[in-house]
Every structure is written in structure tokens, then in C-alpha cells.
């Protein structure tokens, strides 16, 4: 179909609007505030093949999971069995590619007259779907059946409303049944809203126009990706990152290995050499690892392109079976996020080596979450203080890395200290910056932070993080940042370094201290201007010692004044270059 460029542009924008409207509804119509606060979910539209054409919300990489989700649903419910008003539910990662069991998938066919033209789909985190521990994702899990109730694709909703038998079954397996029921209904509502909006778009512009624009959206992103890539030099480059352990044998690290090969306008990403699948919960599904790789590729190649299936079409993957990123059923995947974060960092680094002009240093490692479970909050009820860990981001050609941010383009606001202390029996002792935590470089990585809690009542601390032993790295001569770590500081015993998957009983007066990694540095530290190093020292980001030893800038502090020994600085810096 011949599309005029104006209609094409307008309908594209309208399609993105539908995804954004769905995401807004997803965050605002559920029962529990968790989704609304964390925005841990996304909404999108696919074509008839399940290929994502538009995505809205806080987790854009979901867009690359949709085709597997839709295929999984179609396997049980072929197109001709679908009816207008149906919505299908599943949370079985091995069937519908949700990243882990607490993320539920809801998809609904979009009918125009009697024809299905695509799907509306949402994926969003739920508070609890059963499993070993509250919140479902337990460190002790050894197979997917430990992660919670596995719902295969089921027809959850029809024109007549909810399939109440299914709803009863799902709720009966959750520790918070009302919350789950409300949240899934909210998710169904957001998904069906997408079908209505897309149908309206067909009425307004014609169904052929809308489906043609869907095809063109994918095609033009693929074209754009290939065109940008074609301008790069051909070549191959690798990167490797490590997780502390597989969650069971805590003595040896596991490896993500990535090799990126660019030939003409094709990109191949090869995971050969990645460790065999873990017994513990640190595996990630193949499609999730691919999605993280694709997001990294877009970030390096052209972050302004619209995200859709076209990106996937332009990249080939080599992924031997049975590894950390290609686990076989029934491997558990509940702590997948740190693994895909590492995949992201590796792909970012490998592509940066292929085209140093686009290189960006990776963020610090140590993503994940911590939770403190209290028997009594300030109002006397049991409660869990849950916190997503943040990190510092890596430096890039023109900018120092961001201090305190989310990895992989995920932006979630933290809970204010004044709210935390008003709700839970806890005192935040410090929320400060870690001196010398940033990877040094011509552009400095973001600065790591330190956050320490003193609990005022008995409670249980759960740490579900990563990379306390194995850290991040710098690029193009930039330095690695300091690693993340967590320290338990009991009131009347010696301090104890925690493992990244750990649990501790805490008593009043005990403290726990999280020191989060800085970001990787970019370029040789000796090339950072003296004025910037002076600023870093004055701001408490860099010590006098590091300024001298790493940056080659000789400063002395006299009271509040810093003075620079220019002769020594010049000697150190020119010596390094020689």
C-alpha cells in the first residue's frame, strides 16, 4: 500500500500514543500501589505476527519479548479460536517469555470487523504469586516450580467478564489474594483499552493504512539500524563480565562472554563461552538476554530510533544451549535482572570497541534489591521495607557518568528518607557519596553512594544483589570503578561482609551499610583537565591521593584552599604520555 509520508508520521505517533495510554492505565488502575510507584511493567502493540510495533512505560526491553509471548498463546489458542473481547493470561516464562514468574503477561487480539489485525499486550510485576518466599523470588530456588504458581496461557477474560474459576485458582496461590485479583483485572483493563484504541485508529484512518504503518514502522527501524551500522568499520570485538557465583556454589564466579561481529549492515552477537546454566536463580531466558543486548545495541548505534521488532530483525544471535542465558526448563530464573544487566554492559562494551567514537563506559555492577521485614511498622502492622539498589553510570565521550541512577535505562524513584523513617522502625544513618568510588578517566564515571540503616526493632534483612566480588570496568583507558559491597554491623559483634545473596536476622541497634559501585571511566585519567580534577577533589568525589596517583595531579590542601604543584603535575602527566 502506498502511504503518504504525512499520514505515515501521524499514524505512527498515534500508535505510540496508544501504548502510552495503555501504560498509564496499567500503572493507575491496579489495586496495589507497588506497580504505580515502581512502574515495573510495560504495555505495547504488536502486529498479527506478534512483532512489537510500539511500547510504552518504564521497561522498554519488553518490546522484544512480545513475539515469543504471542506465539506461546497462539500455540494453545489458534487465531480462529479467538473471540472479540478475549484476554489471555500467562506467567510461565518458558511459554510466554516473561522475564520471571512474578511478571504476568496479558494479551488480547485486536479485532477490526471480523479480522484480527494485531495484539495489545502488557507485562507487569505482581506482589506475590506463591513460591518459596513472600514476593515469590527466593534465593533458595533450584527450579522454576519454586518460583511460584505457573499459569499456562489461559483465556482469562471474555466478553462476559472474568473466567472466575481461573481467577479463584490464581488467587488461592498468592499470599495477597485480593491484591493479585485487583492487579490482574487492572492489567486486563489496560490491555483491552489498547484494543479499543487501536480499533478506533483503524476506523479513523482505515484498517489497511494502520496495518501498513505497522509494517513500515518495523521496516524503517530495521532500515535505520542497518544504515547506521553500515557506516561502521567491519570487525569483531568481545567483552566478558562475571557474576560472583551461580547462587549455589559461592566460591567461583560465572561468566558472560559476548562477541560482536559487524559485517556490512549485519550485526552478530555470539554468547559462546558463557558459563553453563546455574543451579541457582541467576539464569536469564534467552529472549530476555537478547532483549537486553538489543537495548544496548540501540543505545550505542542510535538511541533516538523508535524501538520495535525491526531492531531484532537486524541482529543475529549465536547462543549455545544450556548456558546462563539459554537455560533449559525447569531452570529457575527469578534473579535474572543482574544477569541481563551484565549482558547489557558486555554488549555496550563490545560495540564500543567496534566503534570507539560511540563507546560508553558501563555502569557499576551491583544491581538488585534489599528488603527488611519488620513484625511491626510504625502503626504496629507487619511490613516490608523494599528498596531497589541504584548505581552510578559510566562516562561517555562528552560527559561524566550519572551519579545515582538506574541501570539499563530504568528510572525508578527511591523512597524518601523522611518517609522511610516515618513508616518503619529504622534510622538512615547516612546517604552519602563514596570517595574514590568512580572509575577514573578523561571523563569520570558517576560517583558511588553509601547508605546505612540502623534498625530499631527485630527484623530480617534479605539481600538479593550481585557483584560484590566481581566489578565493572572502564573503556578506552578509563579505570574500573570500586565494587559494590554490603556490610552487616551488629551492635555487639564484629562487622561482617555480606554475600550478594544473603539473609540476616537483625536486632535493635544493628546496622547494615550498602556501598554501591561507581560508574566506569572513559579515556586515560591523565587527560582529565586539572580544573576538573580540582573540582572533583573539592566536591569530595576524588581524594588527594587518587588525584596524584591516578590522575597525576599534585594538589595540596592548606585549610580550605587547594593548590596545585604544576611542575610535579606536568612531570607526572608528560611522563605518562611518553
Amino acid at each position: 500500500m502506498n502511504l503518504d509520508p504525512i499520514t505515515n508520521e501521524v499514524v505512527r505517533n498515534r500508535m505510540r500514543e496508544v501504548a502510552a495510554v495503555m501504560a498509564h492505565a496499567l500503572y493507575h488502575t491496579g489495586y496495589s500501589p507497588i506497580l504505580r510507584e515502581s512502574q515495573d511493567g510495560a504495555a505495547g502493540l504488536t502486529d498479527i505476527n506478534g512483532h512489537g510495533v510500539a511500547v510504552g512505560g518504564g521497561v522498554p526491553f519488553h518490546c522484544f519479548l512480545y513475539s515469543t509471548s504471542i506465539a506461546g498463546i497462539l500455540e494453545r489458542y489458534p487465531l480462529h479460536t479467538m473471540r472479540e473481547g478475549d484476554a489471555f493470561l500467562s506467567n510461565d516464562p518458558y511459554k510466554v517469555a516473561n522475564s520471571h514468574v512474578p511478571d504476568t503477561v496479558v494479551a488480547a487480539p485486536v479485532f477490526h470487523r471480523d479480522r484480527i489485525i494485531g495484539f495489545a499486550i502488557t507485562m507487569a510485576h505482581k506482589a506475590d504469586v506463591g513460591g518459596l518466599v513472600p514476593g515469590s523470588s527466593g534465593a533458595a530456588a533450584r527450579e522454576i516450580f519454586h518460583d511460584g504458581l505457573l499459569i499456562p496461557p489461559v483465556r482469562y477474560w471474555t466478553r462476559d467478564g472474568v473466567a472466575s474459576e481461573v481467577e479463584a485458582l490464581v488467587c488461592n496461590n498468592s499470599r495477597v489474594p485480593e491484591e493479585i485479583a485487583g492487579d490482574i483485572r487492572g492489567q486486563v483493563g489496560a490491555t483491552l483499552l489498547g484494543t479499543t484504541k487501536l480499533r478506533e485508529l483503524c476506523d479513523e484512518y482505515g484498517v489497511d493504512t494502520v496495518t501498513a504503518v505497522m509494517g513500515q514502522l518495523i521496516e524503517s527501524t530495521a532500515d535505520r539500524f542497518r544504515r547506521e551500522l553500515a557506516a561502521w568499520p567491519d570487525g569483531a570485538a568481545g567483552a566478558e563480565g562475571r557474576l560472583d557465583h551461580d547462587g549455589v556454589d559461592k566460591t567461583s564466579p560465572v561468566v558472560i562472554r559476548v562477541r560482536a561481529t559487524k559485517t556490512g549492515d549485519r550485526l552478530q552477537i555470539d554468547f559462546t563461552g558463557t558459563s553453563i546454566q546455574a543451579r541457582g536463580p541467576v539464569n536469564a531466558l534467552q529472549v530476555t538476554a537478547q532483549a537486553a543486548s538489543l537495548i544496548a545495541a540501540v543505545a550505542v548505534i542510535d538511541p533516538t530510533m523508535p524501538i520495535n521488532w525491526g531492531v531484532r530483525q537486524a541482529v543475529d544471535f549465536v547462543m549455545p544451549p544450556g548456558t546462563l542465558v539459554t537455560p533449559k526448563f525447569p531452570a529457575t530464573i527469578n534473579n535474572y535482572f543482574p544477569t541481563v544487566h551484565l549482558v547489557y554492559n558486555c554488549v555496550l562494551t563490545a560495540l564500543g570497541k567496534l566503534n570507539p567514537k560511540r563507546a560508553t563506559a558501563p555502569s557499576g555492577l551491583g544491581s538488585g534489591a534489599m528488603a527488611i521485614g519488620y513484625t511491626r511498622d510504625r502503626t504496629g502492622k507487619p511490613a516490608v521495607q523494599y528498596e531497589l539498589m541504584k548505581l552510578a553510570l559510566g562516562a561517555s565521550q562528552h560527559h561524566d557518568g550519572v551519579t545515582i541512577g538506574g541501570p539499563m535505562h530504568i528510572f525508578t524513584p527511591g523512597t524518601p528518607i523522611e518517609i522511610l523513617e516515618s513508616e518503619y522502625p529504622v534510622t538512615v544513618k547516612t546517604f552519602g557519596l563514596s570517595l574514590d568510588s568512580a572509575g577514573a578517566g578523561r571523563r569520570r564515571g558517576g560517583v558511588g553512594y553509601v547508605r546505612e540503616y540502623e534498625v530499631l526493632d527485630n527484623c530480617i534483612l534479605t539481600v538479593r544483589c550481585t557483584n560484590y566480588r566481581e566489578g565493572s570496568w572502564g573503556v578506552l583507558g578509563g579505570s574500573a570503578p570500586r565494587r559494590s559491597q554490603a556490610t552487616f554491623l551488629p551492635r555487639d559483634a564484629d562487622k561482617l561482609l555480606l554475600d550478594c545473596l544473603d539473609t540476616q536476622q537483625m536486632r535493635p541497634g544493628d546496622r547494615v551499610r550498602f556501598e554501591q559501585s561507581g560508574g566506569g571511566g572513559y579515556g586515560p585519567p591523565h587527560e582529565r583537565s586539572v580544573a576538573e580534577v580540582v573540582d572533583d577533589v573539592r566536591s569530595g568525589y576524588v581524594s588527594l591521593k587518587e588525584a596524584r596517583d591516578i590522575y597525576g595531579v599534585y594538589l595540596t590542601a592548606e585549610g580550605d584552599r587547594l593548590s596545585c604543584d604544576e611542575v610535579a603535575t606536568h612531570a607526572a602527566r608528560s611522563g605518562a604520555k611518553a
Binding site: 495510554v21 504505580r36 518504564g58
Partner: protein, 688 residues
């Protein structure tokens, strides 16, 4: 003697004046060029033009100013060198910021950066002290340690110091003592205490707001004292001199330097006040105001006559949590630039040609095609129009500019120009629909009010797309911010956080907190030279369900809160939550977070007389006709050109038509009809 009310609003390009004589209802409107380097010069220039029309300076009995002095300082990064004092151990609070998601085009950019901090870490000093969540002292403040910190800031030559200590909203003692030390050690430095600027829970927004207060405070002080002198110099002697605030009300100019945050969004707020006035007089209680100027468009909803409020404002990336009128700003204006994207399609925005060079057709050297240029190509704006009464447009330049995008698209200039309008309208419609969705409102019961030089050019098409049945174009759409300056009251909003479950919150404690806020209102109103007896007070409680990250403001049923009133508060909260979010948790307890007192004092206001009814023969207003592009048929049709000044109540006519006036141009599409109502608003039936 005549007594004139004068409102002057400073905008990016023009400074607008409206004057009104209350006895005779005589009205004057005029525009002068803004003077960004010293906006008070343009204020005085506007007054001089007014005086040239025969108004005597001594006859100005009431003067209101909408200022952008503080806003510009933030936008241009030209505030003063500012120091910051925080609780020891908490340097990461400001650094972490709000974790707001960046613009979509920046979302996947690995090199994105946060907005800059207005105070660097090396001008931030830690104060050894700590309060707990009730305000009780854990670590006492040491004056000696504070003194050393203040001296270091003084030696670094800061002009202002912001102080934000944890839980200072519960107990301001430590912050007050820090202020005493600063007064002794650095008496020339302006001090902003978070416990005075915004005593509410959540340390980061309070800190950011306090820093902004410190950063622009001295700029406001200088600007306002200069303005007061200049007013006196030109003979304006009244003491009834007010400033417009972001909350949609006035404060006396002598309070302006004390509350610099309050004026940061005054321009958009004044526009919304105009919208509210139209809701009160036109019979349309549900309005969406759409104020489109050269570089941006402001949207707000008037719901059953009332405007929403927000505490999450942002200017130049800086978070300002001062309560203010809720306005959504879009980056689309007449100067928005069209270009070809990497996908080969036509993109419009977000870049703007701004005031300089401006659209290509202004002849200011702009070469890139803008929305205004597209309107010129399509005949909506003609070479005979004089925009703002001053700028003459050059059609040839507009065509040349549009051709730069038409050629690569393989389109003719007219089709490309129409494309520019379609694409920008699609963008704006998406944002307008989002506003309706967020507020849970149905557009079919709304009227769209078109403001700004460019608003009435797009209003008819947008309203039709949004299923909004009617459009109102007020008599002076390009002067609505100035108009709003004469349509409101003195208004102060006082907030105080105090967290606790509603069921357990003692009514006495609420009454005591409200009493303290009332005392602050009384003191400020007295300082303004007004009589506290004239205050009307509204008391509100911000409630949430436990662990929610946001609150809803609920009005208190009575002056003295009783146990029974608490049940009413809970019921109202549940109802509002259901209406806005579609769900509630009526069987769960609610939590009180913040108490608020809104204080208003009535002052004289503009009352535009009903214009005399016309004879019904609109031929008197017809200026001529010209071909104007019709989007439905994709062809030019002859449209009658009306002169707005010659349209009177009772007139009606049908599209295709163009209505021209010195401050704006209205498009009436084919199939739409317009009539003039008793307040001289143009009422368009959009056909939606």
C-alpha cells in the same frame, strides 16, 4: 478622579498591558517589546505608552505585575552563587534528585545527564545534627561547628545560603539556629530555610525548592526594588501594587522577595485565571485552556469551575514543589521547526526558532520552516496581517522555507505545509487527550478556550479531533495572561506536614496545626497592609493510603475539626481516589501527610461590561476574502476575512472564514459556525 487598574505581564517576546477604568469601564490594551536584560524597562515603557493615551500616573489606583525575573534566572542559569547547609552524612540527597525519566528521545541515550545541581558539592557544608521522625533531637546542633561551616561558605563568596535539615518540618529549631549563626557571621547573605520555604515531608523536593528559593531570591530582591523605584519615578504612587503568583492569586509586592518561588509560574497561572473567569461568565463550567504562543503551549483543565493544583513543578530541570496551579506545558508553538527525520518522514519539533531568528516569514533571518510559515503558505496568515500589531509576514520567505522539507519528501509546498499542520496537531491532540485521561475527564462535556497568538489558529481543528464540541476565543486571546492579572484575589497557601493515621490523629492536634498556619496567614496579610478580618480560609488535609507515594488534598468540613469530621474526610478521600484512579480501598485506614490552609483576600477586579449587541449584519466586519487551504478537500477555498473589532454580540457566521485581530488570528473551518456571545467571546461549534 479616574481610577485605573493596570495589569502588566512580561512574556518572552512581548510585555502586555491591560488597563481598566472602573467607573466608565474604559479599557486599554497594548503590547511593547520585552527587554530580557531588564524586564522592568519594558514595564515602564508600557506604562509610558499608556500615559501617552491620556491616563495620568496618579490615576493608577491598582497595579498588578506578572514577572519572569526569577524564571529567567533559572532558565539562563543566572542566579547567584549559592551555598547549601545539610544534615551531616546526607550529601547524596541532592545528587540523587528525583529520578524522573528523561524525554523519550533521551530515554535510551547512554550519555544522558541529569539537570545540573544549582549548588555544587564544594559549596555544600554538612551540619552535625539529627532529628528523628517526630522532630525529637537525636544529635544536638553545635553552634561552633555551624559557625565554621558558614565561614567557609562566606569565604567562598556565596550571596545566598539554603538550609535543609532532615525532619525540619517537624521541628524548625535547628534550622532557625543555623539562620541565627548566618545572620551573625554573614549578615549580607540571604537565607532560605526549608522549614519556612516549604515545611513538608520528603527531603529532596523540599531541598530542591529551598535551593531554588536561595538561588533566585537575591535576583528577585534587586528586580523588585528597582521596579518599585521606577514606578515611583514615573509617578505611580498607589500602594496597591501586587505580584501574580504561581498559585493563581496575588501577593503584595513587599512580600515578593520573601517568596521568590511563588512567582516562578505566574505567567501560565495568570492565563489559567482568565480561563477560570470565562468558566464563571460564559456558562461553560468545564473548560480546557489551550494557550499557544511562539515557543510553547500551556494546557490546563477547569473542572466544574475549578482549576487543579500541583506540587511538582519543574523549570529548567529544577524541581519546585511549591503549591501552584496545575498547567501542562508542551514544547509546541508557532516557532516550532519542521524537519526531515532519519526515517525520511516529516517531523515537527521540539526545536523552535524562538523569538530570534523567529519564523522564516518574519524576515529575521530564519531559514527553517516553522508552523507559522506553514500557516502563511496555507493562507491562514496573510502578508497583510500584522502579528502582534507589528510584524509583517513575507509569504515568499515562508514558501522558500517550507520547500526545504517539501523537496526531499517529493511533495509540493502546499501539501508539505498542510503536513506540518497535521503533524503538529497530532502531537498536540495526543498531549491534550493525555490531560483528559489523567484527570479522568470526558472531552465531550468540555469547551476548549483558545489563548495566545497561535491558539485560535489550531483550536477548531484540535477540538474537532478531540471530540470537544465547542471552542471559545476570548476578546483578546493574545492578552489573556495580562487579563488574568486583573481577575483574581490575594491568595496565600500554607502547608505543614505532620504524618499520622487519620483514625489515630487527635482533632486537637489538627486544630493546633491549622491554628499555626492561620497565624502565618494573618501575619502575612497584615504585612501586606490588608485587614486579616477580610481573609477567607479553606482548610485541606492531604491524605493517602499507607505506603502510597502520593496524596490527595481533601477539604475539611469545618473550622474546628471533631472526631465526626474525620469520618467525612475519609469518605471524601475514598470518593476522590475512586474518581481519579478508578479504585479505592475504603476499608483501609488513611494517613494524614500534610495540612494546608488557603487564605484569600478579595481585591477589586476587572469587570468587562457587556458589549452592545450588534445589528446582526456581519457584513460590517468583513474585510475581504482570500483563498485558504481546506484540509477536508485538500484544496484552497475562498474564505471571508473578518475584523474581530467589528464583531458584536449576537453576530454569527459560518466557515470557511478567518477572523483577524491585532493579537491573534482565528481559523473557522468549512462546516464550523461561530457566534459572538454576551461577553464578546467567539463561540465556535466545531462539528464534533
Amino acid at each position: 478622579m479616574a481610577r485605573w487598574m493596570v495589569g502588566i505581564d512580561t512574556g518572552g517576546t512581548f510585555t502586555d498591558l491591560i488597563a481598566f477604568e472602573s467607573e466608565t469601564s474604559e479599557t486599554r490594551v497594548l503590547k511593547v517589546a520585552s527587554v530580557p536584560s531588564d524586564p522592568s524597562v519594558a514595564v515602564i515603557n508600557a506604562l509610558k505608552e499608556l500615559f501617552a493615551t491620556g491616563v495620568q500616573p496618579g490615576e493608577v489606583g491598582f497595579f498588578v505585575h506578572g514577572t519572569t525575573a526569577g524564571t529567567n534566572a533559572l532558565l539562563e542559569g543566572k542566579g547567584v552563587r549559592t551555598g547549601l547547609l545539610i544534615t551531616e552524612g546526607f550529601r547524596a540527597v541532592y545528587e540523587a534528585g528525583s529520578a524522573k525519566r528523561p524525554d523519550p528521545v533521551k530515554l535510551l541515550d547512554p550519555a544522558y545527564t541529569k539537570p545540573p545541581m544549582l549548588v555544587p558539592q564544594w559549596l555544600t557544608e554538612e551540619v552535625r545534627e539529627r532529628l528523628d521522625y517526630t522532630g525529637a533531637v537525636i544529635t544536638p546542633l553545635e553552634d561552633q561547628q555551624v559557625r565554621q561551616a558558614v565561614r567557609r561558605l562566606r569565604d567562598n563568596e556565596v550571596k545566598a545560603i539554603a538550609v535543609c535539615l532532615l525532619f525540619s518540618f517537624q521541628n524548625a529549631d535547628h534550622e532557625e539556629r543555623v539562620a541565627d549563626v548566618i545572620a551573625a557571621e554573614a549578615p549580607d547573605v540571604r537565607v532560605s530555610l526549608s522549614s519556612r520555604v516549604l515545611p513538608v515531608i520528603r527531603e529532596y523536593p523540599r531541598l530542591s525548592t529551598t535551593v531554588v528559593d536561595a538561588y533566585v531570591g537575591p535576583i528577585m530582591e534587586t528586580y523588585l526594588s528597582r521596579l518599585v523605584h521606577r514606578l515611583r519615578d514615573v509617578g505611580v504612587t498607589t500602594n496597591q501594587v501586587f505580584l501574580m503568583q504561581s498559585n493563581g492569586g496575588f501577593m503584595r509586592i513587599n512580600l515578593g522577595a520573601r517568596f521568590p518561588n511563588q512567582t516562578l509560574f505566574s505567567g501560565p497561572a495568570a492565563g489559567v485565571v482568565s480561563g477560570q473567569e470565562i468558566a464563571a461568565t460564559s456558562g461553560h463550567r468545564y473548560l480546557i485552556t489551550f494557550d499557544m504562543g511562539g515557543t510553547s503551549a500551556d494546557i490546563s483543565l477547569v473542572i466544574d469551575g475549578h482549576v487543579g493544583e500541583t506540587s511538582s513543578g519543574q523549570i529548567a530541570g529544577q524541581d519546585v514543589a511549591t503549591p501552584m496551579v496545575s498547567v501542562h506545558t508542551l514544547g509546541t508553538g508557532g516557532g516550532t521547526i519542521a524537519w526531515i527525520g532519519k526515517d525520511g518522514l516529516l517531523k515537527v519539533g521540539p526545536h523552535s526558532a524562538g523569538a530570534v531568528p523567529g519564523p522564516a516569514c518574519y524576515g529575521g533571518g530564519g531559514r527553517e520552516p516553522t508552523v507559522t510559515d506553514a500557516h502563511v503558505v496555507l493562507g491562514a496568515l496573510s502578508g497583510d496581517s500584522r502579528l502582534g500589531g507589528r510584524i509583517k509576514v513575507d509569504k515568499r520567505l515562508a514558501e522558500q522555507a517550507v520547500k526545504t522539507v517539501a523537496d526531499p519528501l517529493g511533495l509540493d509546498v502546499v501539501t508539505a505545509a498542510a503536513g506540518i499542520i497535521k503533524v503538529i496537531n497530532a502531537h498536540m491532540a495526543i498531549d491534550l487527550r493525555a490531560v483528559f485521561q489523567r484527570e479522568g475527564q470526558d472531552p465531550r462535556r468540555y469547551a476548549l478556550v483558545a489563548f495566545g497568538g497561535a491558539g485560535p489558529l489550531h483550536a477548531g481543528a484540535l477540538a474537532r479531533e478531540l471530540h470537544v464540541p465547542s471552542v471559545l476565543v476570548p476578546p483578546h486571546p493574545g492578552m489573556t495572561s495580562a487579563m488574568g492579572l486583573l481577575l483574581t484575589n490575594v491568595k496565600h497557601v500554607y502547608v505543614q506536614s505532620s504524618v499520622g493515621l487519620l483514625s489515630a490523629f487527635a482533632p486537637d492536634r489538627m486544630n493546633a496545626l491549622f491554628g499555626a498556619l492561620r497565624e502565618r496567614a494573618t501575619a502575612d496579610v497584615r504585612d501586606e497592609g490588608l485587614d486579616p478580618k477580610d481573609m477567607t480560609l479553606i482548610r485541606q488535609v492531604d491524605l493517602r493510603y499507607r505506603h502510597q507515594g502520593y496524596e490527595l488534598a481533601v477539604a475539611c468540613p469545618s473550622e474546628e475539626i471533631t472526631e465526626a469530621d474525620k469520618a467525612t474526610l475519609k469518605r471524601r478521600f475514598d470518593e476522590d481516589h475512586l474518581r481519579i484512579y478508578g479504585v479505592n480501598a475504603a476499608d483501609e485506614d488513611a494517613e494524614i501527610v500534610t495540612l494546608r490552609v488557603i487564605c484569600e483576600v478579595t481585591v477589586p477586579r476587572l469587570r468587562l461590561p457587556d458589549k452592545r449587541k450588534g445589528d446582526g449584519d456581519v457584513a460590517r466586519a468583513v474585510r475581504g476574502k482570500r483563498p485558504v487551504f481546506d484540509f477536508d478537500s485538500a484544496a484552497f477555498v475562498d474564505a471571508l476575512i473578518y475584523n474581530r473589532e467589528k464583531l458584536f454580540p449576537g453576530d454569527s457566521f459560518a466557515g470557511p472564514a478567518i477572523v483577524e485581530q491585532f493579537d491573534s488570528t482565528t481559523i473557522l473551518e468549512r462546516g464550523q459556525s461561530a457566534s459572538v456571545d454576551g461577553q464578546s467571546n467567539l463561540l465556535i461549534k466545531t462539528g464534533a
